[in-house]
Amino acid sequence: MGINLFQILNGLTFAALLFIVASGFTLIFGLLRIVNLAHGALYLVGGLAGYSAAKASGSFVLGALAAMALMAALGAVLDRGLLSFVRGVELRQVLLTLGVALILDDIGLVIWGGDTFSVPVPQALRGAMRVGSVMYPKYRIFVLVLGLLVFIALWLLLNKTRLGALIRAGVDDPEMVEAMGINIRRVFLGTFMLGAALAGLGGVIGGAFLTLYPSADAEILVFSLAVVIIGGRGSLAGAALGALLVGLLNAIGQVMFPELAYFVIFGPMALLLAFRPLGLFGRAA
């Protein structure tokens, strides 16, 4: 089977979704140094909550906003409520988030019942449009555009605002920032909430074309891990590049080597971790 424009577009649109989700993950990993294994659960539960909100209100946008708000709140609870007990010991934090992931996933199952849900696509985005030589679903083009917008928004945030400067400084050297008298805890909390909100947004966006079902959280988490490992901790450009790589590899892998589905992504990730653990753009702690 050859690769055609279709598959490339699929890779790009999946990359856009991955970027939205992984950017949140890398911010939390970069600044708070927490590998938030509950990120996938935030995606799924956020997506489900957004689905319910969108269905109830009839508005896709409202659904997305609801998901982001809810997940940001949940993120705050997670950071202040649970992670505050295990500050400083990274592995403890990681394993705690793993526990949270199990709980959140189960709560999602209890509340929504485990059916496969499809977030309703707004009328304007239904159907296909011409892209080059192919007819391609409008909604997926929207995802691609949204991914770019999120990248720009985050880039502006990180590079043109004071908060962003604090975050970047904190990624490099949290002790220094604290020594300058800044309440680094508030920056951490804000970042965590932002990361969680991005996961929730991802859930709604992804839920419209990939659907939401019980193991979707593990799948997206695993992809996000690959993106962030490849791209490097705390780097937005790294997340973008990593997402592109993983998205395209996944699309190509599905077409050319469907038997080796995970290997196509995890092989490079494992090799990269083995020889360049910091990823493409990561900085040392």
Binding site: G114, P214, S215
Partner: protein, 419 residues
């Protein structure tokens, strides 16, 4: 010192553990209740179907007063977590610890196979309304495994292939999940379709949980097929149907499917993209038969949704076995008699709407209904019958002995008859 503490903690843990573990261990008394171990995926990727298995099964027993053959019936539910290791562990627990009289349930084929091979060794009756692996009632038949309310995977696609030929379709493109269930359904379709003069112009197998069908849909579009047959379950079914529509194929090539593709568990959350798909099954929830509609109404009133395959099959399976238990006055301990009685029991009035009975191999013979997805009066989608094929067994029109000489369906063997 820490070793003393260690000993104490271990001792206490073990003592507590023993107490906890021994709790469900019940002494057998003369008029003890009949214990049924129901395994269903309550967690994991097919949890929604598992929920319906439990609901459908329990609904029957509730309506029967939780008793059969003069004895009380106790149901013990265990989660098989959608994976075979857990299914095996739970089966062991149910049989050896909870000492159940029979096992019921499971959803995914691999969980059913793991349990079937376990009960092969100890003779516990195991009823599988949803596990459809062909060989369990064919070449690798286990005598204490019976498909009460169940079917074999290749059973229903054959009449569908015949119907497709009658519509004038001669070229089919097939897309399916790449595992045994998919291989067997497609094989059933392909063999009948090609033996009737049709041709399979392309077969596409994709891994379970494929999010992107465009590589396959792209190719299918270029094959000049008259009709497409899609064997999908769960989230894959939802996505395929959606993408079939969003990539424009819905208007071009009619879509046929396995019954799982348009089961309620898939279409109840979908919109117009799932309309007009033709499948074949042993029931149609939109069939205008009193028994079917009564069941649909009772189930929807209680659970707020139209029942799916999982609910239907387990209700029917429970009903069937309950009837057999009544025939032997509740004496399920005599396993040979019990199993024989089940096989000889006919079920004339189940929600399936038509009478059913077993063939000589533990698989039921059904009137297969060719059904199409359509909107009901409430605006929800369900399947309505458009044709019926009476008395279809797992062997279709073949002689069982001759049929079983051909290899089981697999990716490599699809029974395709060369032109």
């Amino acid at each position: 010192m820490d070793r003393r503490r260690f000993l104490k903690t271990t001792g206490l843990t073990l003592a507590a553990g023993t107490g906890v573990l021994s709790a469900p261990f019940v002494a057998r008394a003369q008029n003890a209740p009949i214990r049924i171990g129901l395994m269903a995926p309550q967690t994991g990727v097919v949890a929604a179907g598992g929920r319906e298995i439990i609901d459908g099964f329990s609904l029957f027993w509730e309506s029967a007063g939780n008793q059969a053959g003069g004895r009380k019936v106790e149901i013990i539910v265990e989660d098989d977590a959608s994976n075979p290791d857990t299914a095996l562990q739970k089966a062991r627990r149910l049989v050896e610890q909870a000492k159940v009289d029979m096992l019921f349930g499971n959803l995914l084929a691999n969980t059913g196979l793991a349990v079937a091979n376990y009960v092969k060794g100890n003779g516990t009756p195991y009823f599988i309304p949803v596990i459809a692996a062909d060989d369990l009632t064919q070449r690798a038949r286990i005598k204490n495994v019976i498909r009460a309310g169940g079917y074999s995977a290749s059973q229903f696609p054959r009449p569908l292939a015949d119907w497709a030929l009658k519509q004038g379709y001669r070229k089919v493109a097939m897309i399916s999940q790449d595992y045994t269930f998919g291989h067997e359904q497609c094989g059933g379709f392909a063999q009948t379709f090609t033996e009737g003069g049709g041709a399979v112009v392309g077969q596409f197998w994709h891994p379970l949980n494929t999010s992107d069908f465009s590589p396959y849909l792209g190719q299918i579009a270029g094959l000049n097929a008259d009709v497409v047959f899609a064997m999908e379950t769960g989230a894959d079914a939802t996505r395929l149907i959606q993408q079939y529509a969003s990539f424009g194929l819905k208007e071009q090539i009619p879509l046929l499917g396995a019954q799982n593709s348009t089961d309620q568990s898939v279409i109840r959350t979908m919109g117009p993209e799932c309309e007009g798909i033709v499948t074949s099954a042993h029931f149609a929830e939109g069939a205008d038969l009193p028994a079917t509609q009564a069941f649909v109404k009772t189930y929807s009133d209680k659970f707020g949704k139209i029942p799916s395959l999982y609910a239907f099959s387990h209700y029917v399976g429970a009903m069937w076995v309950a009837k057999a238990i009544a025939t032997i006055n509740g004496k399920v301990e005599d396993r040979d008699v019990f199993l024989e009685t089940v096989l000889k029991t006919d079920l004339p009035d189940s929600p399936l709407g038509k009478p059913v009975r077993f063939d000589d191999y533990g698989n039921p013979i059904y009137d297969v209904v060719i059904r199409k997805t359509a909107k009901n009066k409430d605006g929800k989608f369900w399947n309505v019958p458009i044709a019926t094929y009476p008395q279809v067994s797992q062997f279709w029109k073949y002689d069982p002995a001759v049929y079983m000489k051909q290899p089981p369906y697999s990716r490599d063997f699809q029974g395709i008859k060369k032109a």
